[in-house]
C-alpha cells in the first residue's frame, strides 16, 4: 500500500490542516511507536481499552504491556509479537496526531480502517499506470485536465525516485497552479526536445542539508557546495531517468540542460505551472513543473 498517501487522505477528509500535518510529520523522527497504537492497528484491542490503560498509566507506574496482560486484553505472546512486528509508517503519523490532541484513539481506529479499505484496491503496483492515475486523482485531487499524461508519468517516476534515493517517509500534497514562487534554495533544469518542460526543486537550506545527507549517503552538517550539488544531482538524475523512460515508451527524444541554482528571490512562472509540496520529517520540498508541447 502507498503509505505516503495517508497524510493526503487526512487532509482531503479535513481531519487536519496542512500545518498540523507538517508538524505531525516533523515529529516522526523522534516518535516511537506505542504498544497501544499497534494493538489497535492489529485489531487486538479497542480504542476504549487503549484509553483505559493510558488512564491507569497516569496513576500507576507500570508499562502498557504489563497492564494489558493483567487485564487480559493481551497475552504475553501477543505483546512480544507486537513489539517485533513491522509496522507501516502511517501508523506512527496517526499516533502523533493523537499525541498532539488533534484526534482521539477512537477516531484513529476508524481512520485506519477507512484508509485501509479505501486503498485496498490500489495495493501498490507501481508498474500499473491505471492504478497510479486513480491514486493521484483520489488523493491529490487532480482533475482530468490539470495534468497531462507526460506530467503524470513524471510525477509517478518522481514518487519512485524519492522512495529510491531519499526515503519513503514523505507525504505528497495536491499540485497547486502558480504564476510565481518565492525561492529558498532552488535548482532549475530545462528539458528540451520533442517535449519541453521546466522543472524546479526548491527547499529551505536546513532541509537541503538533510536531503543531501540522505541522497549522497554522507553526513553534511552545513549548507555547502556538496549540499547544493546533491540537490542538483537529484533533479538531474530524476529528469534523466524520465528522459530515458519516455524515449523507451513513447519514442520521444529529450535533451537535458545542465541543472543550475536559481538566484532570483521570486520565480515568475509560465502558464500551466504547478507547485507540488512533498513533506518529509526533515522538512518540505517543493517541485515546480511546467510542461508545454
Amino acid at each position: 500500500m502507498y503509505a505516503q498517501f495517508f497524510g493526503s487522505y487526512l487532509l482531503n477528509n479535513k481531519i487536519v490542516t496542512p500545518d498540523q500535518l507538517s508538524e505531525a510529520i516533523s515529529k516522526l523522527k523522534e516518535s516511537r511507536m506505542k504498544l497501544g497504537t499497534l494493538a489497535m492497528h492489529q485489531g487486538l484491542m479497542t480504542a476504549n481499552e487503549v484509553d483505559e490503560i493510558c488512564y491507569i498509566q497516569s496513576r500507576e507506574d507500570k508499562r502498557f504491556g504489563e497492564i494489558a496482560i493483567e487485564r487480559d486484553y493481551l497475552t504475553d505472546e501477543q505483546v512480544e509479537e507486537l513489539l517485533h512486528a513491522q509496522n507501516p509508517d502511517y501508523l506512527l503519523l496517526g499516533q502523533n496526531l493523537v499525541d498532539m490532541g488533534l484526534i482521539s484513539n477512537e477516531q484513529l481506529q476508524d481512520l485506519l480502517l477507512d484508509y485501509q479499505n479505501d486503498t485496498e484496491i490500489y495495493d501498490m503496483d507501481l508498474e500499473n499506470q491505471a492504478h497510479f492515475d486513480q491514486l493521484v486523482k483520489k488523493f491529490l485531487i487532480v482533475s482530468e485536465d490539470n495534468l497531462d499524461e507526460y506530467a503524470k508519468s513524471y510525477l509517478k517516476l518522481l514518487f519512485n525516485d524519492f522512495v529510491r534515493f531519499i526515503g519513503e517517509d514523505f507525504t505528497p500534497m495536491a499540485p497547486v497552479p502558480a504564476t510565481e514562487y518565492p525561492v529558498n534554495y532552488c535548482v532549475k533544469q530545462v528539458i528540451n526536445g520533442d517535449l519541453n518542460a521546466t522543472t524546479y526543486l526548491d527547499m529551505p537550506k536546513e532541509t537541503a542539508i538533510e536531503f543531501a545527507s540522505r541522497y549522497a549517503s554522507m553526513d553534511f552538517d552545513e549548507f555547502n557546495e556538496y549540499v547544493k550539488a546533491s540537490v542538483e544531482d537529484f533533479l538531474n538524475l530524476h529528469n534523466g531517468l524520465y528522459g530515458v523512460n519516455i524515449s523507451n515508451q513513447n519514442s520521444v527524444e529529450l535533451a537535458l540542460e545542465p541543472p543550475t541554482s536559481v538566484d532570483e528571490d521570486i520565480i515568475e512562472l509560465d502558464d500551466d505551472s504547478y507547485v507540488i509540496p512533498f513533506i518529509y520529517p526533515f522538512g518540505t520540498l517543493h517541485l515546480i513543473i511546467n510542461f508545454s508541447k
Partner: protein, 124 residues
C-alpha cells in the same frame, strides 16, 4: 607499475568528490586531476596524459561525448569510462562510438568502481 594518474570530469562537485574518495580508497598512491567540463578535460588530458578518464555526459561548455572525441584525437589508445546518471540510448551509443570503453550509472556503488579499477590496474 608507476602510480596511476586518473582524470575525473564531471560538472557536479558532489560526483567528483564521491568518485575521488572511492578511487583514493582503493589506490592510495593515485594522482587525480579534476575537470568540470569537456573542454577542460581535453586540456588536462593533453597536459597530464592520464591512465584512465572518468567522464560525465551532460556538462556545460562541452558535453562528454564531444570531449571523448577530442581526447581520442589526441590519444587513440586512451581509456575512457562514462559515469553518468542516465543517458538516452542514443547518447550511450554515441559515447561508445566515440570510444568510451565502459559505462557506469550514477549513483554508482563503491564495489562497481572497485571492480572497474581492478580490471584496469591489475598487477602483472
Amino acid at each position: 607499475m608507476s602510480a596511476p594518474v586518473i582524470l575525473i570530469c564531471d560538472d557536479s562537485i558532489l560526483a567528483r568528490k564521491q568518485l575521488h574518495d572511492v578511487v583514493e580508497r582503493y589506490i592510495p598512491e593515485v594522482t587525480i586531476y579534476e575537470a568540470t567540463d569537456g573542454r577542460a578535460a581535453i586540456d588536462i588530458y593533453k597536459d597530464k596524459n592520464p591512465d584512465l578518464t572518468f567522464i560525465d555526459i551532460t556538462m556545460p561548455v562541452m558535453n562528454g561525448i564531444d570531449a571523448i572525441k577530442g581526447i581520442k584525437e589526441i590519444d587513440a589508445s586512451s581509456e575512457i569510462v562514462v559515469v553518468s546518471s542516465v543517458g538516452t540510448q542514443t547518447e550511450l551509443k554515441e559515447a561508445i562510438m566515440a570510444g568510451a570503453k565502459d559505462f557506469i550509472q550514477k549513483p554508482f556503488s563503491v564495489s562497481q568502481i572497485k571492480i572497474l579499477l581492478e580490471s584496469f590496474f591489475k598487477e602483472g
